[in-house]
């Protein structure tokens, strides 16, 4: 699909919304969906998960409109053994690899400056994304 089409589909999307009897409710806007629960995480991993949820999840979360996740799904579509598109579900990420990508970026993902993700936060993030799995 061309970019033009994507942009137009975005702009037009709201006009063709289907659905009915949408009663007004005082609902808060639903938060982002989380791929991984917080159970069983140690303190550093928990802090790392927080950083992930505020900084990375908008692109690497599950659900609709997640450019990091959808891009990685294409990147690893033919890989065996399979690599999950959700980076939180991966077991192959080392702390060094996480640090490398956050400070160097990848494709459309621009690197993060230290005023955005500090070295301490990055260490937590790396601990979270490389946490040993049972």
């Amino acid at each position: 699909m061309s970019m033009t089409k994507i942009a137009f589909a975005g702009a037009l999307g709201c006009a063709v919304l289907a659905g009915s009897a949408l009663a007004q409710q005082a609902l808060p806007i639903p938060p982002l969906q989380h791929a991984v629960p917080s159970d069983g995480l140690n303190a550093a991993q928990m802090r790392g998960q927080d950083v992930f949820r505020t900084t990375c999840e908008h692109c690497h979360g599950p659900g609709r409109g997640m450019p990091g996740t959808s891009s990685l799904a294409v990147k690893y579509q033919d890989t065996a053994p399979a690599i999950p598109a959700l980076i939180e579900e991966r077991t192959d990420l080392t702390p060094e690899l996480v640090e490398f990508f956050v400070r160097n970026g990848s494709g459309a993902m621009a690197p993060y400056r230290k005023t955005e993700v500090s070295d301490d936060q990055l260490a937590d993030l790396a601990a979270y994304l490389s946490r040993p799995r049972p």
């Binding site: 033009t4 709201c14 006009a15 289907a18 009915s20 990147k75 459309a108 621009a110 400056r113 005023t115």
Partner: protein, 506 residues
């Protein structure tokens, strides 16, 4: 070692860094290669080439007082500085300065939402506050006001407005600079100025009246390099009760003329306030379409839509499909279906246009946009369509560069921007071709009396050159102001084509 600011000795620079460290704390001055490299523009069309613009260091103050201290030191030692807010100006320069060797003044740490007044429907924020931050602040407190996010939600409410950015809800809120009300700025000599009613001690109307009394100066700080902005007020939209949109299509090229006239009439009457999407008959002749989004109370917008529908149906052959009315706040189901920025919800889904997809498994990664303002009429659209079609071959020298466009944007009232996007990656040869094509579009557009509303850093001089009435009288006026306000020329040299005296080429 990162580069030195041109003309500054190592000794002076070391002295500057030492004094910056004293002013903001050692941890908040970045001078190693590794840390300074984080300020490179990830979407630079000059990536890895000698012309790529690079910083010499970065300083991250946390308060207005610290900004003042940094400005005073830089002014005394003639160190060029480049203020950024969240520094996510991707496609227009990222966080890299237009003048290599500048010290980036990174205001990301100044991230306090100072006030959100629900009754007055306004906010006062610091530069590091992102659209996500402001949205979270508002939703956590259950305030009944909307923000107007641009497509990327991680940007700065202030930085985006200062670069001339726009969003996707109702007018006037989606014109981000236009929706601001009151500023606090730090001048090159370290002096703090508040504009509008903010200049009145004890005033409680800073975010209510943007003009105050006497010459209005706020416009001087948009797309400029006259000061460092440390606070800015913004008008917010009270949550609209509902939203409705229609899709209008017409069958023939010539029908786009009455279609645009009708759309303009409705907008100029303020009966349609949403950001219309224009669909173009680019296959050569044929259907054009537009959306007609309206925000407001349910009963009112149903009537407005009926009025709009009848107006569009006066065009022979026009079809008007009115969509389902959507009440707010959105339900979880609706949340999954709508384009979130149209509902004031920040997100980052827009980056999907740059990432891998089944159709495009190896994209370039970044992009830059050429975005001239063209007349907002059907004739204007047809002329641009033909212009693009007739010149594409010459501009790209017959090669498929993956240029995408045009996308028509109507974020600013009464204006129409025709955006052409150029993929930018790490392939130097391809980037060169993109630059040549970009430059050619700028020249060709200028021949028609069209010029850009905003520019990537790499093309700011070229774009500024097209605003050339009376032998560049506007540029000379801007230079006169620059010399008066920032006589040592330390702030954002070269931004939007305004250079300080010592760097001007005559």
């Amino acid at each position: 070692m990162p580069m030195l600011p041109p003309g500054i000795s190592q000794e002076t620079f070391d002295q500057a860094l030492a004094r910056f460290r004293e002013a903001v704390g050692g941890d908040n001055v970045y001078s190693s290669d590794e840390d300074v490299a984080l300020y490179r523009d990830a979407y630079s069309p000059f990536w890895g080439e000698p012309e790529e613009k690079l910083a010499s260091a970065a300083v991250a103050p946390a308060t207005t007082e610290e900004v003042q201290a940094v400005a005073r030191i830089a002014n005394e030692l003639h160190i060029p500085i480049y203020p950024i807010s969240t520094g996510r100006n991707l496609a227009y320069g990222g966080s890299a300065p237009p003048y290599s060797g500048s010290v980036v003044l990174d205001l990301k740490r100044m991230n306090r939402v100072l006030e959100v007044d629900e009754r007055g429907a306004y906010a006062l924020v610091e530069p590091g506050v992102s659209y996500f931050d402001l949205y979270n602040h508002i939703t956590e407190r259950g305030l009944d006001v909307w923000i107007d996010p641009p497509d990327p939600g991680w940007g700065s409410v202030i930085g985006n407005a200062l670069d001339g950015g726009g969003g996707w809800t109702a007018y006037p809120f989606r014109d981000h600079f236009g929706a601001h009300c009151g500023m606090e700025v730090v001048l090159a000599n370290g002096e703090v100025v508040r504009t509008g009613m903010g200049a009145v001690p004890g005033s409680k109307t800073w975010q209510q009246n943007r003009w105050g009394c006497g010459p209005w100066v706020d416009g001087l700080f948009r797309q400029s390099n006259f000061a460092i902005v440390t606070k800015m007020g913004f008008h917010l939209m009270p949550r609209p009760e509902a939203f409705i949109s229609a899709n209008v299509s017409v069958q023939n090229d010539q029908d786009v003329i009455p279609m645009m006239d009708t759309l303009n009439l409705l907008e100029n009457m303020h009966q349609v306030n949403g950001s219309t999407g224009l669909g173009a008959g680019f296959g050569g002749g044929g259907a054009w379409s537009c959306t007609v989004p309206i925000y407001g109370p349910e009963r009112v917008i149903r009537e407005q839509m009926a009025f709009a529908k009848a107006k569009f149906e006066e065009i022979p052959g026009a079809t008007v499909n009115v969509g389902e009315l959507i009440r707010t706040p959105l339900t979880p189901e609706q949340y999954e279906q709508v384009r979130l920025v149209n509902f004031g919800i920040p997100n980052l889904s827009t980056f999907a246009m740059l990432t891998r997809s089944p159709m495009n498994p190896n994209p370039a990664g970044g992009h830059i946009g050429f975005s001239p303002l063209i007349p907002r009429t059907g004739e204007g659209l047809l002329e641009f369509r033909d212009f693009y079609r007739d010149n594409l071959e010459e501009v790209t020298q017959g090669e498929n560069l993956g240029i995408v466009g045009p996308v028509f944007m109507t974020n600013w009232e009464r204006s129409l921007v025709a955006l052409i996007m150029f993929p930018i990656g790490r392939d130097v040869e391809m980037n060169r071709k993109m630059r040549a094509a970009f430059t050619r579009w700028v020249e060709l557009a200028a021949e028609r009396g069209w010029a850009e509303y905003r520019s990537p850093v790499a093309f700011m001089d070229e774009v500024a050159d097209t605003y050339s009435f009376n032998d560049h009288a506007l540029r000379r006026l801007r230079e006169t102001l620059k010399d008066a306000i920032d006589p040592n020329g330390i702030i954002s040299a070269g931004r939007y084509g305004v250079w300080p005296k010592h760097l001007r080429q005559t």
